[in-house]
């Protein structure tokens, strides 16, 4: 039941991000609720389910993206795995620490995606757009962690 609830919330996040979040863009940047789900899965579940939800979150993000390969599937499952490892070593019950952790993960994800996309010849906008996204998206995503994490923790 816990897992089904988590899955449904993740689906809801996916649909919110693809539709209702459009007007809430700050300087053209919107939070990555699916990355938030992948990290939360790592913090809340055992490794098997953390990886499963990481893969699903990545799949949902990839299916509406423009690139034809599973970049997010690979990296979201990695972030779920890293979150799971970190949650075993460090207690992340404090929302502030969890938010900082999400911020770091989002920062790393954006940096790596830029490198991978550049390497693969996929254009991702100017350096200014990249810098703006790199600075704003992790903060914006982390801002959503406390309410999202509470919802996840309560329902799961």
């Amino acid at each position: 039941m816990k897992k089904i609830c988590f899955f449904l919330i993740m689906l809801l996040f996916f649909m919110l991000q693809a539709t209702l979040f459009q007007p809430f863009r700050v300087f053209g940047v919107k939070p990555d609720l699916l990355l938030l789900s992948a990290v939360s899965a790592g913090l809340l579940f055992d490794l098997k389910w953390a990886l499963f939800f990481g893969i699903i979150a990545g799949f949902l993000k990839d299916i509406l993206g423009v690139q034809d390969f599973a970049f997010n599937v690979a990296f979201f499952s990695l972030w779920s795995y890293v979150s799971h490892l970190v949650s075993r070593k460090v207690h992340l019950d404090n929302e502030l620490f969890a938010a900082i952790f999400v911020c770091v993960v989002a920062f790393a994800h954006i940096g790596i995606s830029r490198i991978v996309f550049t390497f693969l010849g996929i254009t991702t906008g100017s350096t200014g757009v990249f810098a703006r996204t790199l600075l704003l998206e992790p903060l914006y995503t982390a801002l959503f962690l406390p309410p999202a994490y509470r919802v996840f923790a309560r329902l799961t």
Partner: protein
């Protein structure tokens, strides 16, 4: 740190990632998933539209008043343009010129947007069953909006012109100066490969040149808002404000023929 059981799970996860990678790279497998999200997305898009209509009631009212006046003015202009069009048609007949073919278009509604910040794409509620195919141009009444990059049976995905991966061959309407318009993910587009001597001014209109086979000639792209020199110093670029409000795109037309 890494137990045997954990290793097995990690291996299994890697295998699943590979399977998904293959899955996502194969349009025939990927498109049914796009279709399955069509109805939930349509419902959410409808809610968003209704909520914003309610919240922005006053703004919409003022806008309606302004548009009403503009509409009256345009009706008058249209009458004059219609007269000119008829005259033009008569002259063309006289000159025995081949009449320009009209496009067949399909109207579609935007039901979702790309969830990441690296691309600018929208999901449309019409697909192959409505005659939509990959590569078709997406326009609005204001001008060019993008092109279809993926089409499933009842939905499709379109890349917008502000995506950096989309290049459109364009000309300055006034001086016929050619260039390539690319997206920046921001509020403006950039027109590149303009020679240093190019005749281009702020507020010039940029239209499609027809050299990119996907985009028919003459579609409005936007207006020049700034001109600059490339870092190399060999050519210039122009920043173009798109004619279409890409952030508030709700309905589009797809040129199917």
């Amino acid at each position: 740190m890494f137990k045997l059981k954990d290793k097995r799970i990690a291996y299994a996860a890697i295998c699943i990632v590979i399977v998904f990678a293959v899955f996502l790279s194969t349009p025939a497998l990927r498109t049914p998933f796009l279709d399955s999200f069509r109805y939930p997305f349509s419902i959410l898009a409808f809610i968003r539209r209704e909520v914003s209509a309610f919240v922005f009631f006053h703004r919409n009212y003022v806008q309606k008043e302004r548009l009403q006046k503009e509409n009256d003015l345009l009706k008058t202009k249209l009458e004059l343009a219609d007269e000119a069009y008829r005259e033009n048609a008569r002259l063309k007949d006289i000159l025995d010129l081949k009449q320009q073919s009209t496009f067949r278009m399909v109207a579609a509604r935007v039901i979702a947007r790309s969830p990441d910040n690296w691309s600018s794409a929208v999901m449309l509620d019409k697909g192959k069953s409505h005659g939509i195919r990959k590569g078709m141009a997406v326009v609005t009444f204001a001008g060019l909006a993008g092109k279809v990059t993926e089409a499933s049976e009842r939905s499709s995905k379109a890349m917008l012109i502000n995506d950096p991966n989309l290049g459109v061959s364009a000309v300055i309407k006034r001086s016929r100066q050619e260039g390539l318009v690319c997206g920046t993910l921001g509020s403006t587009l950039v027109m590149r490969y303009l020679t240093k001597e190019s005749d281009i001014q702020v507020s010039d209109t940029v239209i499609t040149s027809g050299l990119t086979p996907v985009f028919p000639k003459g579609f409005m792209i936007g207006t020049v808002v700034a001109i600059g020199e490339e870092f190399s110093g060999l050519s210039r670029y122009a920043l173009v404000k798109p004619a279409v409000d890409l952030s508030a795109l709700e309905e589009v037309l797809i040129i199917v023929k």
